[in-house]
Assembly symmetry: C2
């Protein structure tokens, strides 16, 4: 990229390493940054560094937080005996947006994926088992409905079963508002298997 | 976004002010940054600040550069008598990628747009006229083929005509590889008007 000054090229190439940012978007972002007031660029830059520096895993549920224990785990109104296991913090946020789940979470930070060399020891599974030594009524497995998510769900359920704690899996089926015509066969079969009496 | 720690929410909302970054992408970017090594976040952040601080307009052509005169203007091999007028630095880069233009540029930093309150005084037009007092053979107007770009092209050509300097406009027509069936009527008519003898 000789037609740009070195610092612009550097910025573009660094921005293009971010997820979802291709060469064109990186270029657009870079020029946007160069046209922003200097103070705003400094503010964004500080937010990035500060967040990266101060954010760590909640000691309890392993979600990302800037406190020792995250707001959800420290909320007295949440039911600590009901643990929803999710793959990452964004999945937790998705359920929080529903506003209907009053239990707590356990963030695995990944899913078992032999294809990608990710085994049970690479996700926060041992930490979940430690938590289950406390007083827990039910573990809801809300890993994704992907191959990796399903594998992880199976693995966790087998691990928990012997402890006698109830283990459940979120339902998989036709999304609300979904048109059957456009739903894949696997989902349709899953919806059929999971049918409930009216 | 109460389900995220304050610093994460801040970072997400700042990232989502960037162009082309919606709420979902901002979230993805934020979590990517939080999972990056701290040193890498600092590097990116420094590139942003440094670039913003050191980049200014080339004294000659007004492209963004970290030197006083940009590499193109200081290149002895470029023809200084041939000036291509573009709306912004990215348009300059687009023509540089072709590797076939050996003249120099003039970056307007915008286009005349009465609808958006942008008049001739808001773009680097006065600066272009100053440059034309030197020894110039031809001015190629390569503003976009949009309403604003065309208005700007007309305005500039009227301004330059009295000086006797040759003014040209890049051709507009069917893009190479374009299928006529999918081209809009205005472009088709433009291509017809601009037909050349074979």
């Amino acid at each position: 990229m000789e037609y740009y000054s070195k610092q612009i090229s550097n910025l573009i190439s660094e921005l293009s390493t971010l997820p979802g940012i291709g060469a064109k978007s990186a270029q657009r972002l870079a020029f946007h940054l160069l046209n922003m007031p200097e103070a705003d660029v400094e503010k964004l830059s500080t937010s990035m560094i500060e967040a990266r520096r101060n954010i760590h895993y909640c000691k309890n549920c392993f979600t990302l937080t800037d406190q020792e224990i995250c707001p959800i785990c420290s909320d007295a109104k949440r039911n600590k005996k009901l643990i929803m296991v999710v793959e990452d913090t964004r999945d937790l946020a998705a359920y929080e947006k529903t506003g209907k789940f009053d239990g707590v979470y356990h963030v695995l930070h990944g899913a078992i994926s032999p294809m990608n060399g990710i085994g049970p020891a690479d996700i926060k599974l041992k930490e979940l088992m430690v938590r289950l030594q406390g007083d827990v009524d039910e573990v809801i497995i809300a890993t994704n409905s992907s191959m990796e998510g399903e594998t992880t769900a199976m693995y966790i359920s087998k691990l928990i079963k012997p402890t006698g704690i109830k283990v459940t899996r979120i339902a998989s089926g036709v999304p609300v508002g979904g048109d059957l015509e456009y739903i894949d066969e696997v989902t349709l079969l899953r919806a059929l298997e999971g049918r409930t009496e009216l």
